[in-house]
Amino acid sequence: MIARALIGILMIAVIALSLSLVRVERDFAPKPGRPSPAEASVALGTLKPGGDALPTATEPSGYREDAASVSNGQSAYENFNCVGCHQHGGGGIGPALIDDEWIYGSLPMEIYRTISEGRPNGMPAFREKIPETQLWQLVSYVRALGGLVPSVRLPARTDHLQATPPLSLQERQVPTSGSVETEP
């Protein structure tokens, strides 16, 4: 009797446990590709005397705005020195990202193009420097900075194990690519 009761409790526990293990599926490495030139067409203004000639650009299917993407985007933001110009969103050399002004648009495709192609008053073109996946993660982080990603999808903590010391304790790595000034 007691044994049956115990088995019953155990079964309930197992069911509860297995239910608690049901989790949201997510791709660990979504790989949105580089948009085709047609997709990449983005209007920077609202005046269209020729009608809606420009197709509305949409982000590729692999693009995510979730905790993992935003968190990874934040790492990229620091590692590619975005933080040096835009600080922690308040801006500096470059414009603020946490405010509501979007000089070149706030849509994912528009932000993608801003990072990838650069902008005329000093935004560098990071195409070929930042891998495609990380570039899209950056897009999601920049949109999160601007309050455009619902807070329920934002990370409450950094989305990785403390498998390594904090990034700031890493040994200095001199990039092998990129230009280093040489003697004339």
């Binding site: 600080q87 308040g90 280093v180």
Partner: protein
């Protein structure tokens, strides 16, 4: 004969003489003129001109004019204004030679010549160098420009995208235009050139981008490079040879610009030369400072990081270094050593010494023997807790252990903050009072060292910082420092960090401006505010004084907020981020609501 002509070029006060001077100072006379006399040395004469930002080679920013005085200043009023057409930070000193006033705007660095002979001083001509727009993204502190300089009928200035330009002072015609660096690697130009014996001396900016610092001499007549002295790297690059005799052992050794760095780190090690130069004709030495080492995060660059954050003395003709003194070995706090170096003679322990005086970012007022590089004294002039002063035996700055940055840790209440006890905006010195007038900051900071990697053309920092008032809830101060007695004579607290230069005159006045736009005249003896005027924007410029064609005295200042602190306003930063603008979000939060951007020249005179 040519020697006399050379003198005439600089001494005749009338407008006719200026035309004559332009005619006489033709390039072919250059060598002969300079063999006879350091002719581009505008002696501290009462000619009513202000030919270079420092006014004279000693960088006193002291005008012998006295019509505007403690007695008359209360009547000072606007004589004319001029919009410079750009709305970022205006740091240029208004330069006056003869009957023309010259200013350079912030990016796109337009050079204007205003005709002082005509009512309202209309534009005589303008020169547009058309720098690349992208270069704005490589300037830490906006595409600012600290002014043109005029020598022998030529106007020299630089652009954000690394061009040096010479323009005929009369006609505005371009004489030459050369590119000195590569802005795509974070190297820009912001400083005002200094002309010494036909050498146009120009240094680079870019310590926040890992740009390797240098000072370059260009032939004033042709723009051709004569020499370039780097701030890091092997001795052959730094122009260190047999005549290099630094005072302290720590600055001696072979190739210190390589060996005091981790392997190859000197190549993006900073030490840019964006501040002020002085020149002593008697010793024939040029003095200037080098900027912070890159990156800000000091943990990735163990060693002294020569020859950053120190002062060089060099021969202007060949650039060879005579001495170097490192103010901040292995700088921890972005403390560039590029501020002004005011040359004077002082009685020290009963002996007359030729010294240079330096109010430094690290909070110390240095008095240095300019012949040898020996530190005679280094006194704190504001709240300093990040160092315990200089060990005068070794010359070494004594860092406070508890304020040293560490990775993964926020070190709090470091004083002074990264912009220093005082930033680039220059002091003035009056022989009459013996006071150095120092516009400066009153700020401390929290600092967290973070990861960074060198990516050419992007910021190379590795630190998150935020600034706050050191005491009394005020961010700045304007003070008079009694140089002989090594103490503060008087001080005026300012709500905001003071980022305007100062200028003094023989009328017993000293002028400066504030971030919220007030332009003030103080009694140079007592510090009493005798007159003030609210300009349209915030002031980060440099006041100058001159005598107009009508024989009356004038005071000029550019208003136009921007630069490092003012970008909070001019680049519309979001101050909810305390680190906005690299540390200014919190301390300048309220300023953003009070001040607008806009570049405007204001020139004042007494009613006449």
């Amino acid at each position: 004969m040519t020697a006399r002509r050379g003198l005439k070029c600089h001494c005749l006060p009338t407008s006719r003489a200026l035309l004559l001077a332009a005619a006489l100072c033709m390039p072919h006379l250059w060598v002969a003129v300079h063999a006879a006399q350091p002719a581009d040395a505008p002696a501290n004469s009462d000619d009513g001109n202000w030919t270079m930002p420092g006014r004279d080679y000693s960088a006193t920013r002291f005008s012998p004019l006295h019509e505007i005085s403690t007695q008359t200043v209360k009547n000072l009023q606007v004589a004319f204004t001029f919009s410079v057409g750009t709305a970022r930070g205006q740091e240029s000193a208004p330069i006056v030679v003869g009957h023309t006033l010259y200013i350079v705007s912030s990016f796109p660095n337009i050079l204007y010549a205003l005709d002082l002979e005509k009512a309202g001083a209309p534009v005589k001509w303008r020169f547009e160098p058309k720098p690349e727009a992208s270069a704005q993204g490589e300037a830490c502190c906006e595409g600012v420009n600290r002014g043109p300089t005029v020598s022998d009928g030529r106007v020299f200035f630089v652009t954000t995208d690394d061009q040096a330009v010479a323009v005929d002072a009369q006609s505005g015609q371009k004489l030459w235009q050369v590119r000195l660096g590569d802005y795509t690697k974070g190297e820009t130009l912001t400083m005002a050139p200094l002309v010494v014996k036909g050498n146009v001396l120009i240094g680079n900016s870019g310590g926040e981008f890992g740009a390797r610092g240098w000072l370059t001499s260009l032939d004033a007549a042709t723009g051709k490079q004569r020499w370039r002295a780097y701030s890091t790297g092997p001795d052959t690059n730094v122009l260190i040879g047999a005549d290099y005799q630094p005072f302290y052992a720590m600055d001696r050794g072979k190739d210190l610009g390589v060996s005091s760095w981790p392997a190859d780190a000197w190549q993006q090690g900073g030490g840019s030369v964006w501040g002020w130069l002085s020149y002593d004709p008697e010793l024939d030495l040029v003095f200037y400072g080098t900027g912070n080492p890159s990156p800000w995060n000091d943990s990735v660059r163990p060693g002294d990081n020569k020859f950053t954050a120190g002062i060089f003395a060099r021969n202007p003709q060949d650039g060879r270094a005579r001495w170097f003194y490192q103010l901040d070995p292995h700088d921890l706090f972005d403390h560039d050593a590029v501020n002004e170096l005011v040359l004077m003679d002082l009685q020290v322990d009963g002996q007359k010494r030729k010294v240079l005086v330096r109010p430094d970012r690290n909070g110390l007022m240095y008095v240095i023997d300019r012949k040898t590089g020996e530190v005679l004294s280094a006194d704190a002039f504001t709240l300093v807790n990040s160092n315990h002063g200089v060990d005068l035996k070794t010359g070494r700055l004594q860092y406070a252990e508890d304020k040293k940055p560490a990775n993964g840790k926020v070190v709090r209440n470091i004083c002074p903050a990264a912009p220093g006890a005082k930033d680039w905006n220059p002091s003035a010195y009056s022989k009459e009072t013996g006071f150095l007038y120092v516009p400066h900051n009153n700020m401390c900071m929290d600092w967290e060292s973070t990861a960074t990697s060198y990516i050419a053309g992007t910021p190379y920092l590795g630190a998150s910082v935020k600034y706050f008032p050191a005491s009394g809830g005020v961010g700045g101060e304007f003070m008079a420092w009694d140089v002989q007695h090594r103490r503060k004579a008087w001080a005026v607290p300012e709500a905001w960090p003071v980022f305007s230069g100062a200028a003094a005159n023989a009328g017993g006045l000293v002028f400066y401006g504030t971030l919220d736009g007030w332009f003030k005249a103080l009694d140079a003896s007592s510090g009493a505010v005798l007159w003030q005027f609210k300009t349209g924007s915030g002031i980060i410029g440099q006041p100058t004084m001159f005598r107009g064609p009508d024989g009356h005295d004038y005071v000029a200042i550019l208003s136009g907020i921007g630069g490092w602190p003012g970008a909070v306003v001019s680049n519309n930063l979001d101050t909810r981020d305390a680190t906005a603008g690299n540390g200014w979000g919190e301390i300048l939060k309220a300023l953003k609501g009070q001040v607008n951007k806009g570049g405007m020249l204001y020139v004042f005179a007494l009613p006449h």
